[in-house]
Every structure is written in structure tokens, then in C-alpha cells.
Amino acid sequence: MILKKFAIKFVKFYKYFISPALGSNCRYYPTCSCYALWEFENENFFKAFIKSVLRILKCNQLFRGGIDYPVISKKINPCYGKKIEIKYWLIPKNDKFIVIKAENERTR
């Protein structure tokens, strides 16, 4: 969990302070840093790490780029009667889920 928190902090720091200096160049949607962030927030650390690294490696002109959402596997526990804030939509695909960031007021 500490690793995960650290990774999220790191990606956020990169998004705010380093990425703007380099200019927006990602060939994908969501961008590599978003992808990593969504992965780290929804997947276990090691899987998220490996997938993020692979994604960055693929983010060059030898690859087409385009739309590439994180796909995670997760056990869903139902939650009844509670008011929840939706952060991500998980769209079922086979036995896995595509992660899409929910558009709530905070992110707008």
C-alpha cells in the first residue's frame, strides 16, 4: 500500500511539474501518465507497474497509438444503501473490466 501511495504521488508530481515542461506528446488516450494513475488506483502495485512500463515503452512512433484504456481484473463487492462518489466506471469485458474515469464535478 505504501508503494502504491508513493507511485500515485510520483505520477501526480510528474503530471503537474515534469510533463508540462516536456510538452504533450503522448500517442495514446488516456495519456501514459493518466493510464499509470488509473492503473495504480485500481490494480495491485506490481501489475500496475509492469503495465505502465509496457505502455510507456509502446508510446513511440513505432506504434500506432490511439485509444487504450487500462483493463483490470477485480472482484466486485456490492455496496448497498450508501451514497458513494463515483471515481471510475468499470465496464465489463470478458471477465475483466475496462477502467474509465468518471466525470464528476471535481475533475471538471
Binding site: N25, L57, N60, F63, G65, G66
Partner: protein
């Protein structure tokens, strides 16, 4: 077919990036491994040795009452060495004006003990004599005119005679043969590390190279008593200078922490021994000419492996161009050239993109108010038509280690100290007129203006807009060479982006392609 092609591309991209990433991992892990091996090495014998050594230290403190006078002077074009009446190098002055501090020639010998070539005996009685009986020298003054010359230092301790036969070279190298009339346990030192360039930013201490080519770096403040049986190089170093002893056969090196836990090192022997020494700036070429293995004495802190290889490239570019500033610019161009196959592929896909121009306009109109959706639909369009104008994250991230490597080179390389370029007197210092940082800020601003951006977060957008200012202020205090690299890189990015944008805008070109 498609799958195979995909695989090949993954492999190419992976190999390129792994070269960089691996170098990094290796050097983040290395210090940890060293720390582990350090603890292993503290043998049972070590504490005994330490006692011996600390006694010796106290003995050598007594010696202060005995006035050690200069008994011989060796003069060469680049240096002046003084030998004191205890047969040690008590002063080593670099005569080139390049190294001057406060208008004076630079003294490399630290006031702290031991001095280079200081011999301490294990036997207390003998040691007292060694620190009270003055030596005899074969010549009072030696002048080197481009050739090597020999000096014999003899110290008659009654029970035995200690002889040091030293051959001085104009480069700062010296060969020393220690001869005893009968065997006795003794220690000889390469001297306390130079104290001419000590600061908080850079590492200083001792590096010991072993016969199996592994290195042990003991930074000041971290020293532990230990004995290394297979040392071949023992070198004290500060940011720019070193004093070292090198042996072709493995020797026993003893590390003793002083009061501040800084490492003090000796080579222990009981019999005659032949060593090669060097005192002076850590010029890679000079060190390599003495022995290729001595290049490892130049340490760059974390990322040494990477910085060293980058130095070889930069040094090559310097030898072609004759100026370090030009060499840095050439390096930027070289990096861009290495990434060119990628850029070129991107450029080619621009032609395809032209055909999409009307569709893109439509999307831009439709999602004007929602940048996230706009970005998504653009990507969809790119993917459908197999065209993508963006460079990708990988080529950009590859720039970061190079940037870091140059930072390290500017910190540690004596070659880059005092390297002038146009109005800048020293690329390793900040630009005194702040011209480069401002140029960098401006180039960054222009680059930002030219690159299409879309943010999901208003906060991010604000930071983005202020970033050129933040970077200008931040980079103002950094070495000018680093700012130069970034500025040139920005300018090349602008050029590239400008070409891309021109392609996108010109509708004439579009019709030509259609024809």
C-alpha cells in the same frame, strides 16, 4: 504477419530503452550492494588493526613538535612538489592559472594527516624513530623538463634503513619503490584526500578498486574500520582532484576512520613494495595514460556508469569541435539523430494526416468545450487512419537520463571546469548575466505555444502556464552547460514542431497530395 511485425517493434523499442533503464537500476542498486559487502568484510582482525592505527595516529600527532622542514623541491611545468624532512610529500602546487583560487596557485595536499608517502611502523619504538629522525635526500632540487627523474630518500632508523626511490613524471605521476634493510610491518599512505574542492553537492572520500575490478566507495562521514586484501587502487578524491596509489599486484589496504568518520587509508606491507602514485586533477586522459583501470577513480555519485559513458561521447565531440559548448550542442543534435528514425516515421504519417484535416476540424468544432472528449475523438481518428502526429512519451523520457548525466558531468568533470562558450566564462557555473536561463524560458514558452495542449484539470493548466517562469528561475542557478543543453533542445523541438504545424496548415500541400 502483423503479429510478427508487432513483436519486432516491441523488441526494438525495448532494447533502446533498456540500455538506459538498466544503467539506472544498476546504479541505484550498486551502493546498496556495496554497503552489504562492507559489513561482511569487517573481520576479526580489523579491531586490532584499528587500535594499532589509532596509536599510530597519536604518534604522528606528537610529531608536530618536531618541525618538519622542506628538504627537497621537485619542479615541473605544471606542478611543484615539496618533500619534508620525514620523507613525505608536504606540498603539491598546481602551477596552471586555470586552477588558481583567490589569485594563488592551488595547493592539493590537505593540512590533515597523513601526507602522501607517509610511512608508519607497527612497532611503536620504530615508529617513534620514523617520526623523529630526519631523512637524507639524493638531491635538493630537481627540475623536470619533460622527462622523468629520480629522487632517493633515505631514513636511517638504526635498527633498519628505510629507502624510498621515487621517479617523478611531468604528468603528476610518480613511481615509488619502498626498500627496507630488513622486513618490518609498516603502512604507507597515498595521503589524506585533497581538500581543494569540497562542497555539499558532490561526493568526496576514498575509492578502493579491488583486483576483481569491483569498487568500494567510502564517502566522508561513512568510514568504518576495515581491511581489504586485494586492493589495486587506493585513491582519495574530492570533486576535482585526487591523490592515489596504484599497485600492479594486489595489496592489503587498511581503512581507518578519523574523528569525523572520514576514511584514512594506508597500504600495509612487511617487505619491499613497488607502487605507482598520482596527485593532481582527475583528467580522464591523464589517468588512462597511467593505467586504463584508473579511470574508475573519477566518480560521479549516483549514475556514475551512465555519466562516464556520456563523458566519453562528449569528450569525443569536444575533440572534434574544440569547444565544450559546441560539444554540448552537438550532443543535443546527436541525441535527436538517434531518435530520428522515430521522428521521421512521425513526419511520414503527417501526410496521411493531411487527408484527415477536414474531419479533424469537424471534431474540433464539435468538442470545443470538452478537451477530454476532443482528445479522445482525435485519438480515435488517428487510430482509424493509422496516422499519429505525436512523438510519444518514450523518446521524451529518454532525454531525462541524458539531462541528468550532463548535470553530473558539469558537477564532477575537471575537463569542463572553466570551459568557456561565447559570453559564458565557465559552463560548470551559473550564467552570470542570466542570458541563457531567459533564452531557455523564452524557448520553452514558444514551444508551449506551438504544441497543441488540452487539460482536464484547471489547476494543471495554471501550473503549465507558469512553468516557463518557474523553470527560468530554477535553472538560473544551475550550471550554464545544463541550461545550454535544454535551450538547444527546446529550439530544435520548436523547429520540429514548426515544420509539423506548417504541414498541417498548408492547404495547398493538401491538394498536392490529393493530386
Amino acid at each position: 504477419m502483423n503479429g510478427q511485425d508487432n513483436l519486432r517493434r516491441i523488441i526494438i523499442a525495448t532494447v533502446i530503452s533498456f540500455i538506459f533503464f538498466f544503467a539506472y537500476d544498476y546504479f541505484v542498486l550498486q551502493p546498496q550492494m556495496e554497503a552489504a559487502s562492507k559489513t561482511e568484510k569487517i573481520s576479526n582482525k580489523a579491531p586490532v588493526k584499528v587500535k594499532r592505527e589509532s596509536e599510530n595516529t597519536s604518534v604522528s600527532k606528537n610529531e608536530k613538535s618536531f618541525e618538519a622542514k622542506t628538504v627537497a623541491v621537485i619542479e615541473a611545468k605544471n606542478y611543484e612538489i615539496k618533500i619534508d624532512s620525514l620523507g613525505r610529500i608536504s606540498s603539491y602546487i598546481l602551477k596552471q592559472n586555470k586552477f588558481n583560487t583567490d589569485g594563488k596557485h592551488l595547493e592539493l595536499i590537505s593540512p590533515k594527516l597523513p601526507k602522501p608517502l607517509e610511512v608508519r611502523f607497527k612497532n611503536e619504538n620504530l615508529n617513534k624513530k620514523a617520526f623523529s629522525i630526519p631523512v637524507e635526500v639524493s638531491a635538493k632540487k630537481i627540475v623536470l623538463n619533460g622527462e622523468k627523474k629520480e629522487l632517493v630518500i633515505t631514513q636511517n632508523l638504526k635498527e633498519l634503513v628505510l629507502k624510498k626511490i621515487i621517479t617523478f613524471y611531468p604528468s603528476g605521476r610518480y613511481d615509488v619503490k619502498v626498500e627496507l634493510s630488513k622486513p618490518a610491518d609498516y603502512f604507507i599512505s597515498q595521503g589524506y584526500r585533497p581538500a581543494a574542492a569540497i562542497d555539499q553537492l558532490t561526493i568526496h572520500g576514498v575509492v578502493i578498486k579491488k583486483s576483481d575490478d569491483t569498487l568500494e566507495i567510502i564517502e566522508d562521514g561513512d568510514a568504518e574500520p576495515e581491511t581489504i586484501n586485494n586492493a589495486i587502487v587506493v585513491a582519495g578524491f574530492d570533486r576535482y582532484y585526487t591523490t592515489l596509489l596504484f599497485s600492479k599486484k594486489p595489496v592489503k589496504a587498511v581503512v581507518v576512520p578519523d574523528d569525523e568518520k572520514n576514511p584514512v587509508t594506508f597500504i600495509e606491507s612487511t617487505d619491499n613494495i613497488s607502487l605507482i602514485g598520482y596527485i593532481g586533477p582527475k583528467y580522464v586522459d591523464t589517468l588512462r595514460s597511467i593505467d586504463p583501470g584508473l579511470v574508475d577513480v573519477v566518480q560521479y555519485g549516483v549514475g556514475t556508469f551512465f555519466a562516464r559513458n556520456l563523458f566519453l561521447v562528449l569528450d569525443y565531440l569536444y575533440k572534434i569541435s574544440g569547444n565544450w559548448g559546441v560539444a554540448i550542442i552537438l550532443l543535443v543534435v546527436l541525441v535527436r539523430l538517434v531518435l530520428f528514425p522515430l521522428t521521421f516515421k512521425g513526419m511520414v504519417s503527417m501526410y496521411k494526416l493531411k487527408e484527415l484535416a477536414p474531419k479533424m476540424k469537424e471534431i474540433q468544432e464539435r468538442y470545443k468545450k470538452d478537451p477530454q472528449k476532443l482528445q479522445m475523438h482525435m485519438m480515435k481518428l488517428y487510430k482509424e487512419h493509422g496516422a499519429n502526429p505525436l512523438g510519444g512519451c518514450l523518446p521524451l523520457l529518454l532525454q531525462i537520463p541524458i539531462f541528468y548525466g550532463i548535470y553530473k558531468l558539469l558537477l564532477y568533470s575537471i575537463e569542463l571546469k572553466g570551459a568557456h562558450f561565447l559570453w559564458i566564462k565557465d559552463l560548470s557555473e551559473m550564467d552570470p548575466y542570466f542570458i541563457l536561463p531567459v533564452l531557455m524560458g523564452v524557448s520553452m514558452y514558444i514551444h508551449q505555444k506551438l504544441t497543441p495542449t488540452n487539460f482536464q484539470d484547471p489547476m494543471q493548466e495554471k501550473i503549465f502556464k507558469f512553468l516557463p517562469v518557474i523553470f527560468t528561475v530554477m535553472m538560473a542557478t544551475f550550471p550554464a552547460g545544463l541550461v545550454l543543453y535544454w535551450t538547444v533542445n527546446n529550439i530544435l523541438s520548436i523547429l520540429q514542431q514548426w515544420i509539423i504545424n506548417k504541414f498541417m496548415e498548408s492547404k495547398k500541400a493538401l491538394t498536392k497530395v490529393k493530386k
